[in-house]
């Protein structure tokens, strides 16, 4: 699959990718390297992995990172309850006790032991700590996992690895060097309209233009949490659910739908009715 085909396939499953992102995904597949996506929250980084797994018709295995994430939650864990029972009931030996039967596969081990190469999404890698990053680096370079009691599990297929980061913490240079990198920014007006069109085809062109215009204008305001693409889609759904056809029609109803876009109290205060009316007035 070349880049243009990939881009078309992605838009077929509802993801509008720009040229650079399509190139990155193409290279990630061609070179077999992990792809690191960085950018503000709500630009659709996680969504890329879902779309890619749909295009490749394969499983999406997701690992959500958090502080304190360790091997037991990311790679594998022994099923202690069953092991205890086995010792009591069958006086199991070490070999039987530490075998496949009692192994709980966590996302990373799961991802490298699939028949068909899956898409492995490692979400918000910067939330995990340095130690986990080091584990990951080893797995991403060798595609094998060593379980002390069992030996080394080598990958049957190489997963397509996508990592996302929000900038909570700086990632190590070693990890960055292993990965292809794309900085995903908020989409421009045209792209965002195309996204809205593909996700909510029922929305009229004029309303779509207004929605995108307002969201783009809001991103230029000084907000704590800028509305992302997901928020924009939520808002569009809310508006069409309320039967709004033109943003300047019903300011009161419009103000009520702002819960979809502004997610902190400070942002709500920063965007009172007048300010919002001004923004709407500009784009309408």
């Amino acid at each position: 699959m070349n880049r243009a085909e990939l881009k078309r396939a992605l838009s077929g499953v509802g993801y509008v990718a720009d040229e650079t992102l399509a190139m990155a995904l193409h290279l990630a597949l061609a070179l077999g390297r992990p792809l690191l996506l960085e950018g503000p929250a709500g630009v659709g980084k996680t969504e890329i992995a879902r779309a890619l797994s749909e295009v490749l018709k394969t499983r999406l295995i997701r690992l959500q990172c958090y502080e304190g994430l360790d091997a037991a939650h990311a790679i594998y864990e022994w099923n202690y309850q069953r092991q205890l029972l086995a010792i009591r009931a069958e006086a199991a030996t070490e070999e039987t006790l530490f075998s496949e039967k009692y192994l709980l596969r966590r996302p990373l081990l799961e991802a490298i032991s699939q028949e068909v190469a899956p898409v492995l999404l490692i979400d918000e890698i910067d939330r995990a700590d340095m130690e986990f990053e080091a584990y990951l680096l080893e797995i991403l370079s060798e595609y094998q996992i060593t379980i002390p009691e069992m030996g080394t599990v080598t990958a049957t297929t190489r997963p397509v690895v996508i990592l996302t980061a929000n900038g909570t913490r700086d990632l190590s240079d070693a990890l960055r060097r292993r990965c292809l990198y794309v900085y995903v920014d908020f989409p421009d007006r045209e792209t965002e309209r195309a996204i809205l069109q593909s996700r909510a085809p029922g929305i009229e062109a004029r309303l779509a233009r207004q929605i995108v215009g307002v969201v783009q204008a809001l991103r230029r305001e000084e907000l704590e949490k800028q509305p992302g693409v997901a928020e924009m889609l939520d808002w569009a759904a809310a508006l069409s659910g309320l039967g709004v056809n033109d943003l300047s029609d019903d300011p009161a109803a419009l103000q009520a739908t702002l819960v979809c876009l502004l997610k902190t109290a400070a942002d709500r205060d920063a965007c009172p009715t007048e300010v919002f009316a001004r923004i709407v007035g500009k784009v309408a």
Partner: protein
Amino acid sequence: MRATRFPERARLARRMAGFMAHLRLNGIAVGPTETEAALAALTHVEALDPEDARRALKVLLAGDAEQWRGFDGLFDAYWFNAGRIRQGQAHAHVRTQSARPTLWTQHLGGPAEETGSDDATPGAGEGEAEGSDGRLIATRTANLSKRDLRDLMDEVSLREAEHAARALARAIRDRRSRRLKRSANGRVIDLRRTLRGMVAQGEPFDLPRRTRPTRPLRIVALCDVSGSMTVYARVFLAFLKGLLDADTSADAYLFHTRLMRVTQALRDHDSLRAATRLSLMAEGFGGGTDIGGALTTLVEQHRHALTGRTLVLILSDGYCTGSPERLAAALERLGKKTRRIVWLNPLMGWRDYAPVNAAMTAALPHLDAHLPANTLDALAQLEPEFARL
């Protein structure tokens, strides 16, 4: 100027190696591995289409957001003989999308961008300086002369400040981790080890335990280098260096009317180069202060530096030309993102000093601690205070 064509294979390899050298010179760490990878990548794309080649190389070689933004310029410069484009100069006063880091401009010594809001501009020109009678008076000119920091760096006597800083960095290390480690009297039973014991013994005679070890807080230090702080700048810079030496995860910034990150410069092992980099960054050193603006920049553009395990250390006298409301708002936002905010104030050590000026009054409710820092002794005595934080 004639556009460079992509030449045939052998020459391409040579040109590519040249491009890597060009990137290295501009701060992107790439080596032979990347050269090879770049050539391999080009076989998967329409390498004769410059835009395609650009995208492929950008995806492959850029490592973070700053490099990502600078890459196009570097690519054009090398393959199309466009010459270096000093982006920082052109965009300095243009309002760009917020949350845009300014690392490139810092490296090039150009002016750091404003905080990203239009309303910052009028305040930026104001500053305070010492009047002839020694009192602080407000001036409306920012001192943009380049101050050479070399003489502030190489004195032996500054070691004491560094030493105090190292002690402080050590004092705030004890914080609980969420990760479990083996420990003789931990609270959680280590099932894995217990089971292994049971295989041999049949019964869980031993119950190995696990506990949460302590993990350090990360320090983000901001040092005020405006006119009123000039006399302390020397010591505080040494103090920052000490903090960075003691703790590899610490982060340091200087601010006056703008904020700039100096972690890399202070960490530079080549002290001459460190001094040069600092003085390149120190445009406006000794001018006015906009603490609120600087903190806003920190929150918006250096978010990665702020986590729930961050201790923010502000070294300033609190004389600020920005609006107190803005300072309070910035501190409030900062407080949400970090664990502790500590203000070290050199004036606190003075007799009869009370933090009554508008900026300090606005700031106080948001601080976890407001401590004196006028002498080296005061700095050294901060250690127990920090241990309690």
